[in-house]
Symmetry: C2
Subunit: 474 residues, 2 copies
């Protein structure tokens, strides 16, 4: 962090904590410069930054003032889903969301795709191009059913950062994390079984359960600490739960990181009931804290955790390179993988392996973490500024997703329909529940450049929300 | 065909028909040259070719003689599988086969991969390299769930050759034909349902049924004309069959092309019982007849045929580009596709679309058809020469697979184990049955260069078979 960023952060914290109140005049540039022993221009830059984030505004000839603003919206309360296993539907809404991808001029605030324009991706293009120039027929051939060895070696290497000691044989490559989850589910369950999920829970997980005839029991989940262990225990007491699926690090949609103590408690509970854990780690390397939070897999002693991940959020989703570290379920996972798609695309596997091996992965991750964290700061200011009062907003600790809870009577499905006419797509919360909850919630991403178009889109969403809430009340 | 090839074919036919008998002296070079009005050197070249194929041999100073040889082995008789639905197992054997792929110095006579070394593939490499150089972020992004439009357009175009009138919206792109089949099965069935399959039937189809808890009823299948319609009708009378899966064009493993009249009869029968047909078309463009045989899909009037295919056998399997034309089951197919893997890898889709669009696909197919047909001719001579009497051999009409039936008591599993120690892998027939049949059968491919190594491998397999048969008899 540079000096001025440091100062800006400090001032923002003071504002946040109420030390400087709404409308209050801020210290003069000279006095701040003296207080902190920095140059005048450093203070000026810090103030510019805060102004950009709309935390303060300048008044010509009188100085800087704390923006008259709403209080920071609270995070959503612990979720209260239905306390019994339910069948999953919501496919029409998912399809509607997916079909937005095809409309190229739509601003996809609902998309789960990372920013693909950064220069740290350039080496990936080079590797792809060199591969094609070498004309190695291996690239065109069926790959091994478990995935190519060079990639499994690199995946084992990066898994060390999550605390895992894995070898290449502990990993099975898949078509993205999506296939990893779907084969993991098939490996631990039979149709009709019950799996516990977070609530809200990623729609891809829900649909994968749907596809195999699994019933989901949604467990109350805290927006800051994750799935409630207490509620999970009650559910285990009551139902024959075969497995628990969690996204404990940089959760989709809520962005929390489950504290390590909770991860341990979750694992101990699952052990006690002799169930499995399917851990979706796909956003974990985008955690803003460094080193990245540990995976539950790293705490696993008896192979009951199936770690699922991919490069879809960290590098590029179109590569379709994911993996599962299946623990004791390896044989069944390989079988299910063969059943579902046969082997995985060859070229992109080798490309990703090369990208990591040559040392381009960590610098890329560093950059992306910074970009998303910076985006988040601005984006949450915009949301605070343009959205009405009375909403709850998640506090992501990594990744690029934000979850907004609106008043109970609000219908995000209608809102989304209205917004699409203006060329903006958001995700409607009801996709994240099997029991029809979260119709009053939205998920937004903050991967887009922080330019006028994006700000305008957020403003437009905020205004539409405000109108909708007003008409609810009327 | 050149003159000498033409002459060689003519002479081979005469030998086949018994006009020149085993051990008989062939006409002198001069007399043949006069008879056919061709040059001496043309006759010489024709004789060299026949010698290479071991149909004739030369005796210094006395001329050419018909090789003393066994009779052409008959094709296998109509199969007689168990007449009730069975659950599928055989996974261990499939896994064993797949793990052969990882042993790079193994001669994979059991592999289903095409020849990837031909110059007509060069433009594909160029396209892949140019794509990477252009750095179009679209290539790295999630593709539409149904696959990219340019590819769906080209697939619709090439489907015309099979007699189908399809638009891009009638096609859903998948991770190879494998995923196409697995989503097609899920789209038409529920776990516990019954599907009718050919017997023998491709192990990938069997395992896809297994994965979804479907029972298979194996229908007697003729090595020349395909699934017995009469037997299928009996099965329909007796069981609630939801769908029929067939590989009617260049069948895997038997290589037959189902006559068009039979295709019509099959469709009519399935219509009568209101079931669906899953048609696996993956080898059809490698039929040696031109134009290619029609698909059953092309005869479909009410959308009950799901056509599954890919470029895995025609271009390259590592691209993982396949598709399904799902007819009336489109919505369910898209849903199942999302459930299983999410979207398909982006880059190779665009590459295949470009390859077809720029006109490289047909010339490549022409070349591959010729190569495989030529390979087949030599390969079947080798089999006849090196294998013992008393076997049946399929007469493929396209593709690159050959099915060999050995005496009932023969155990191909043991044989395969023995061969692998010598660095050769074949496919054991039992993979192609859900009810434990075909343990006495082998599938070989003839994609390898017709060189000494390949001939030696065939000789080795033949000798091992001969020894095994002798020890059976003892
Ligand atoms: C939590 C979570 N898991 C899995 C996936 C799917 O990842 P992939 O694109 O690698 O299949 C996503 C993507 O949206 C996700 O958000
Ligand atoms: C008949 C048949 N169908 C489907 C497949 C699978 O094709 P793909 O590699 O495109 O998934 C094969 C490949 O072995 C096959 O032989």
């Amino acid at each position: 962090m540079t000096r001025y960023q440091h100062l800006a952060t400090l001032l923002a914290q003071r504002i946040e904590q109420g030390l400087y109140r709404s409308g209050e005049r801020l210290p003069s540039i000279r006095s701040l410069s003296e207080e902190h022993g920095v140059s005048i221009s450093t203070v000026q830059q810090a103030y510019y930054l805060l102004e950009e984030k709309q935390l303060i505004h300048s008044q010509p000839r009188s100085g800087y003032f704390v923006a008259s603003r709403k209080a920071v919206p609270p995070v959503p309360a612990l979720s209260k889903p239905v306390q019994r296993p339910v069948e999953i539907s919501q496919w029409d809404e998912v399809l509607d969301l997916l079909s937005g991808r095809m409309e190229t001029d739509m601003l996809l605030l609902g998309n789960g795709s990372p920013d693909l324009t950064q220069p740290t991706l350039k080496p990936l293009w080079k590797i792809l191009s060199r591969q094609a120039q070498k004309q190695d027929p291996r690239i065109l051939a069926y790959d091994s059913i478990v995935g190519c060895l060079p990639l499994r070696e690199q995946v084992a290497r990066i898994a060390i950062d999550s605390g895992c000691q894995l070898g290449p044989d502990d990993i099975v490559i898949t078509n993205g994390c999506h296939e990893a989850i779907s084969v993991a589910i098939r490996a631990v369950c039979e149709p009709g079984d019950i799996i516990a999920v977070e609530s809200p829970s990623f729609h891809g997980i829900m649909q994968a359960l749907r596809g195999f005839g699994i019933r989901a029991i949604e467990i109350p989940t805290d927006a800051v600490t994750g799935m409630s262990i207490e509620a999970l225990e009650l559910a285990f007491d009551q139902w024959p739960i075969k497995a628990v699926i969690v996204v404990p690090n940089c959760n989709n949609p809520m962005g929390f990181i489950m504290p390590e103590a909770r991860k341990r408690a979750l694992l101990a509970l699952v052990q006690r009931f002799d169930a499995a854990i399917i851990e979706d780690d796909v956003y974990a390397e985008l955690a803003w804290e460094y080193p990245r939070p540990v995976s539950i897999k790293s705490l696993d002693v008896d192979g009951r955790v199936l770690l699922c991940s991919s490069v879809s959020k960290t590098l590029a989703p179109g590569l379709r390179v994911g993996w599962v570290a299946p623990g004791r379920y390896r044989d069944r996972v390989i079988h299910m993988k063969y059943i579902v798609t046969g082997s995985t695309v060859t070229q992109t596997q080798y490309a990703v392996a090369e990208f990591i091996r040559q040392g381009y992965y960590q610098p890329h991750l560093r950059r992306m973490r910074q970009i998303y964290q910076r985006n988040y700061e601005t984006f949450s200011c915009w949301v605070r500024h343009y959205f009405p009062c009375g909403i709850c907003v998640s506090r992501p600790q990594g990744g690029f997703l934000m979850w907004i809870e609106l008043p109970e009577a609000f219908d995000a499905v209608l809102l989304n329909r209205e917004l699409r006419a203006s060329g903006i797509q958001v995700v409607v919360g009801s996709l994240f529940s099997a029991s029809g909850k979260y119709r009053n919630c939205l998920r937004l991403n903050f991967t887009f450049p922080l330019d006028a178009r994006t700000e305008q889109a957020v403003a437009l969403v905020g205004a539409a929300v405000e109108r909708a809430i007003a008409s609810c009340a009327a």
